[in-house]
């Protein structure tokens, strides 16, 4: 099926994009298009105007700066795969990127576009939750920061205003003793997650967990935080028993729906297992001795 007709605008600066957002009637932003183009083709979205941000060169970046990993709105999933600092220091990002869709889609789709898409099955939302990430929204009144926990409202719905553009997603750069990981269960290569878990741990000098972050994919109406599991980990020493308890708490916090891939009970069990695995990898990367967790 073909998309309904629309007017196509190609701003080359953020300012121009924001003034178009303000002046046009219900415009839609086009980034990688890997979610939007199918929605337009199925006419699930029928905007009169599309603001294509691919010509805004200033949004094409992915680097560490001022204590953050900064992901510009035009950084593609494939850029995450290809960036050395990510391979070296951001385990969860390095794990998640190659598990998203397929090589062609990763060449086009953007991290920030995934945040705006707010698909509960999207992988980046969970990674940002585990890292206590945030996004920058730019509107007619200037810039504001939205913590990831305040971004996702409902499936495909965010707290972003109609006249706001997301310019950046970012997470604090890892500190000494930090490690992170992402585990995803999918039926076959290229599929969205049946369940996914991102975990981040910071160990203090004494080897105790100083800070923990856990984000879950595809098991609630939005990407969700496993807050009880995080709290349970803090102050403790990493161990298989501890991670088992955290896995159970994460499963309890999840709220999956039964579908053709599995019933809710099965998915909860998978959240439990994936949480233990992600915590195990995060602890290992944080420098703790590898603990045996169920594989």
């Amino acid at each position: 099926m073909k998309a309904a007709s629309f007017e196509h605008h190609e701003p080359t600066t953020v300012e121009e994009a924001v003034s178009l957002l303000e002046s046009l009637d219900e415009p839609t932003i086009l980034a990688g298009g890997q979610s939007l183009v199918p929605m337009l083709r199925f006419r699930l979205a029928r905007p009169d105007t599309v603001i294509d941000i691919n010509g805004i060169d200033s949004l094409e970046y992915l680097h560490e700066e001022d204590g953050y990993l900064r992901i510009g709105a035009l950084a593609r999933h494939a850029d995450v795969e290809d960036t050395d600092v990510i391979a070296d220091r951001y385990g969860s990002f390095a794990d998640a990127a190659p598990l998203i869709a397929d090589p062609q889609i990763r060449n086009q789709g953007t991290v920030v576009g995934s945040m705006a898409q707010a698909d509960p099955k999207g992988d980046w939302g969970s990674v940002l939750i585990a890292h206590d990430g945030e996004v920058t929204a730019r509107g007619p009144d200037g810039e504001r920061t939205i913590p990831v926990d305040e971004l996702f409202l409902l499936p495909y719905d965010t707290s972003l205003m109609d006249d706001e553009l997301l310019t950046e997603a970012r997470v604090p750069a890892p500190v000494e003793g930090e490690g992170s990981a992402y585990h995803k269960l999918k039926r076959k290569t290229g599929d969205y997650a049946m369940a996914g878990v991102a975990a981040r741990l910071v160990l203090d000098d004494d080897g105790r967990i100083e800070d923990a972050g856990i984000g879950m994919t595809a098991v609630d109406i939005t990407n969700a935080r496993a807050a009880d599991a995080e709290a349970h980990l803090e102050g403790e020493r990493p161990s298989a028993d501890l991670f088992e308890e955290a896995g159970e708490l994460a499963a309890e916090a999840s709220n999956p729906e039964s579908d053709e891939h599995g019933d809710a009970g099965y998915k909860e069990r998978m959240v439990d297992v994936l949480t233990q695995r992600a915590l195990g990898d995060a602890a290992e990367r944080a420098g703790a001795v590898k603990r045996r967790v169920p594989q």
Partner: protein, 216 residues
């Protein structure tokens, strides 16, 4: 309000202009306006990869991008393969690989597979099997079961890596090609170890003969 716009694409090395409404998908511009029907459409959801083309050297799904977004870029489609220097005016080693290794049955997925294979070999001339499988993970095939597609791309990698031999006029024979293959089940055109003098199986469906219908 949805006026057509003139866009310029360098397709397989030749600059082409297309009048496109913004809603026109790149795959439709390629097939309908440029009449390059080698690029296929197999789904509405971006899952199948039959529409894969290279945009500025990177594989993308041309059904998930509007033609206006490709304005000014270089597009390569399967039709461009035989114009590449490695093809020496005939089939490109990747295309030859799909023929030699039975990498296709109905052929619907083949153009997309070849473009994904091309993108892989450009980046990584000597890929491991796992890397080949990863590179074609966005391309669905309903016929072959993928084994022979992987072999077809391995064949092309081998050919391209020994290009100098072929470039000085000599041709690489099947014996040479499989000389260092240590596994051969003994059946012609199976297990990567055929020792046939002819490139096709005696009595096989003529569409797979090298004079047959699949390359015409």
């Amino acid at each position: 309000m949805t006026d057509k716009r003139e866009i310029t694409l360098t397709v397989n090395g030749t600059e082409r202009t297309v009048e496109a409404e913004p809603r026109k998908l790149l795959v439709h511009a390629i097939r309908e306006d440029l009449d390059l029907t080698g690029t296929h459409i197999g789904c509405d959801t971006g899952n199948c990869g039959a529409c894969t083309v290279l945009k500025d050297g990177e594989p993308i799904k041309s059904c998930l991008t509007f033609a206006v977004q490709a304005d000014g870029s270089e597009i390569m489609t399967v039709e461009g393969m035989e114009d590449l220097p490695e093809a020496s005016g005939e089939l490109h080693p990747l295309q030859e690989g799909f023929r030699e290794e039975h990498g296709l049955q109905c052929g619907y997925c083949t153009p997309g597979m070849i473009m994904s294979g091309k993108a892989l070999l450009d980046e990584n001339p000597d890929p491991e099997e796992g890397e080949i499988r990863e590179a074609i993970s966005g391309n669905l095939c309903r016929c072959t079961g993928y084994q022979n597609i992987v072999k077809s791309i391995e064949y092309a990698a081998d050919e391209l890596n020994k290009e100098p031999a072929a470039a000085d006029g000599g041709t690489v024979t099947a014996e040479q090609r499989f000389a260092d293959d240590d596994f051969d089940c003994g059946v012609e055109n199976c297990c990567g170890g055929p020792s046939t003098e002819t490139p096709h199986v005696e009595g096989a469906d003529p569409q797979f003969d090298d004079v047959g219908g699949d390359d015409t």
